[in-house]
Symmetry: C2
C-alpha cells in the first residue's frame, strides 16, 4: 500500500502533514526509528531538558502558510507565536531567545520580507523575547513557493506542564473562540469575502499562560495548543497520552458567527482546523471558576469557556455530547489542509 510508511516504495502524501494519524505513523516509522531517547519519544510540542534544578525548554516550528499575509496576521507573526506557544504550553513563559531561518524564492519582493520581519519584531515584543540568530537561504524561482520560515526558541522554567497530565474529573477549558486561524486562511485563499469579520487569532500566549499558572498552581494538569488538526487532534492526543476519555459539550464550544459561516461554506468542521492563539487547559474541577476568571481578565482570554470534562471511560476516546442525551465518538482524520500554518 502506497500510504504505509514501511513500504519501501511509499511516498510522502499531503495527509502526512495534516497533524492526524498519517503524520503520527510517518513520525513513528521514520523520525523515531531507532530513537530510544525518552524526550524525543514523548512527542511533545517542546522538548524539556533538565538544567540543574530548573528546565531548559526547546522547540521548533516550520511555517509554510499560503497566502503569507492573511486577515489577522502573517507568516512572521505566526512563526514567532508558534514557537512561543509551544514553550508556553510546556509551562515556560520566559523565552530567552528565538532563531529564525528564512528560505525564500528568487524574485520574492524584498518589501514583503521587510513586512514579515516587522511583524516578527512586534510579536517578539508582545512575547517579551527577541530573535538572536538567523539564517537565510535563497532557492531558485520555482524551487520553493514564496517564503518558508523555520523558527526555534529556548526558555527556562521552574515548573514543567505536559500535554499528558489529564486526570479523570478534570475540566478542559478553551481560552477563546475556536477555528479562527484555519478558517481565516482558507477564506482568504479561496476569496470567500469573509475577511471583515473572520480574522486569525494568531498571538503569543506566554502572558496568558503566566496568568493561568498563577491562578491554577498545581491544579493545572495539562496544556496543549490546538494548532494543526485543531481541537479534535489536540484532545485526542491528550486523551491517548493520559489514557483517559474526554467528553466535549457541543453547546459550550465558543465559536464566532463568522467562523460558523465560513465552516459551513467550506464544508469544514471548525474543530478540525488550526488555532494559533488558543490553548486547551486541563484543570482540576475545583480550580475551573478561578482560572476562568483569570482568563476573562486577560485580553486574549475574554471568550474562554469550559468545553469538556475528563472521565475514566475508554482510554483515548473523545466524545462529542450533542445534547439531548446523545453523544458521538470523534475521530482524528487526515483532512489534508496544506499550508494552513
Amino acid at each position: 500500500m502506497k500510504g504505509d510508511p514501511h513500504d519501501a516504495s511509499a511516498r510522502v502524501r499531503l495527509a502526512h502533514g495534516a497533524g492526524g494519524p498519517a503524520m503520527r505513523a510517518l513520525i513513528e516509522s521514520v523520525f523515531l526509528d531507532g530513537v530510544t531517547d525518552p524526550e524525543a519519544r514523548a512527542l511533545g510540542d517542546a522538548a524539556v531538558l533538565p538544567l540543574g534544578d530548573r528546565f531548559l525548554v526547546l522547540s521548533t516550528d516550520a511555517h509554510v502558510v499560503m497566502p503569507p499575509f492573511f486577515p489577522g496576521g502573517d507568516i512572521g507573526r505566526l512563526s514567532v507565536s508558534g514557537v512561543v506557544n509551544d514553550l508556553a504550553m510546556a509551562g515556560c513563559c520566559d523565552v530567552l531567545g528565538l532563531t529564525s531561518s528564512v528560505i525564500v524564492e528568487e524574485g520574492f519582493p524584498i518589501e514583503s520580507l521587510r513586512r514579515i520581519h516587522r511583524s516578527m519584531q512586534i510579536a517578539c515584543a508582545e512575547a517579551n523575547t527577541r530573535i538572536v540568530s538567523g539564517d537565510t537561504k535563497v532557492m531558485q524561482k520555482g524551487e520553493v513557493d514564496g517564503v518558508v520560515l523555520s523558527t526555534s526558541g529556548v526558555g527556562i522554567t521552574d515548573r514543567v506542564v505536559r500535554d499528558s497530565g489529564l486526570l479523570p474529573g478534570d475540566i478542559v477549558i478553551a481560552t477563546g473562540t475556536l477555528g479562527d486561524h484555519g478558517l481565516a486562511v482558507l477564506s482568504a485563499r479561496h476569496a470567500l469575502g469573509l475577511e471583515g469579520e473572520l480574522r486569525s487569532d494568531v498571538a503569543p500566549l506566554n502572558g496568558l499562560v503566566r496568568a493561568v499558572l498563577a491562578s491554577a498552581g498545581s491544579k493545572l494538569h495539562a496544556m496543549k495548543d490546538p494548532t494543526r488538526g485543531g481541537v479534535t487532534s489536540a484532545l485526542t492526543e491528550m486523551a491517548q497520552k493520559a489514557s483517559i476519555s474526554i467528553v466535549i459539550d457541543e453547546a459550550a464550544l465558543p465559536l464566532s458567527a463568522a467562523a460558523r459561516a465560513a465552516a459551513e461554506l467550506l464544508g469544514i468542521d471548525p474543530l478540525s482546523v488550526a488555532n494559533e492563539g488558543k490553548a486547551l487547559l486541563g484543570v482540576e474541577a475545583s480550580a475551573a471558576p478561578e482560572v476562568l476568571r483569570a482568563l476573562h481578565a486577560h485580553p486574549l482570554g475574554v471568550h474562554a469557556a469550559c468545553i469538556a470534562r475528563v472521565t475514566e471511560g475508554e482510554p483515548g476516546a473523545v466524545w462529542l455530547d450533542t445534547g439531548f442525551g446523545t453523544r458521538r465518538l470523534i475521530e482524528r482524520d487526515d483532512l489534508p489542509l496544506p499550508r494552513i500554518c
Copy 2:
C-alpha cells in the same frame, strides 16, 4: 536599481543567498531593520546568552542542498553538522540538544526520508548530542523541490570564542583541506565523474574544537567555519570585525588534487566554496605549533596547516601572497552557487 534592498520594488536574487556582500546588505536592510539588540547585531553564526556565570549558545541553519545525497554525505548529516559547528565555533562543544524541522514535497520517497533520518542519527552520535524535538510540514508537488531541513541547537559553555577576536601577529590555521564540500556537491550535480576522489568533508567539529581549546587555552583568539562563501568570505568577515588585515600564504593552502581538478573544470575558486567540516582558527603565534600538533593527532585534523597571518595593515583587507613578493587583494564576491548547502 533592482539589486538595492532599499528599493521598494526590489526582489530577492540568488546573490542574496550567496554569503557575500549582497546577503550582508539584505540582512542589514531587512532583518536588522529596527533591531538594536547587540547579540542579533553581532551577526555571529551562533547567539550567546548569559546564563548565570555560564553562557547559553543557540544557533539555527536551513539546508536546501541539491542533490540531497552527495559523495561524502547528505542533507541530514549536513544539517546536524552545520548547527553543531556553529555552536562549536562559539566555543560550545557540549550540545544539549537539537531540533529538526522537515519541509518535504508531496511525492518524496519515504525511504529517502528514512535514509536522511539515519544519517542525522549517526552525525548526532558523532557529536554526542541528540534530536529532542521536531516538526514536519508537507507542501504540494511543485511547491518545494524535494526536501528542506531546518535545524537548531542549544548548548552551554563556560568560555565563549567569537569570530571577531583576531589580533595582529596571530596565525590563522585551517583544520584541513579546503573546498571539498562545495566542489563535491557541484561535481555530483553536474555529473563530472570525480566522485571517487572528491568527497564532502561534512562532519561535526565539536570534538576537534574541544582538543583545540585544551591545547590553545586563551591563546585561541577567534574561530569561524568557512561554510557558504568559503575561506574568502569567512576571512573577510573576521578581518572586518577585528579591524585587522589578513595575508594568506597561497603556497600553504591545503588543497587536495581532486579539489584542484574540480575547481579548474568548474572554473571556481576553491577558496570561495563551502566547507562543512573545517574551521579557521586564529591563534597567538607562540601557540600555533602546539595547536597544529593537537589537530594532527585528531582524525578530522590530519591536514591542518597554517595558512595566513594577521597584520595591522588596512582594516578588513584580505591579501593573497602568491609568492615571489607579489600579493593581491581578495574580495568577497556574490558568486551565486545556489543549494550548495
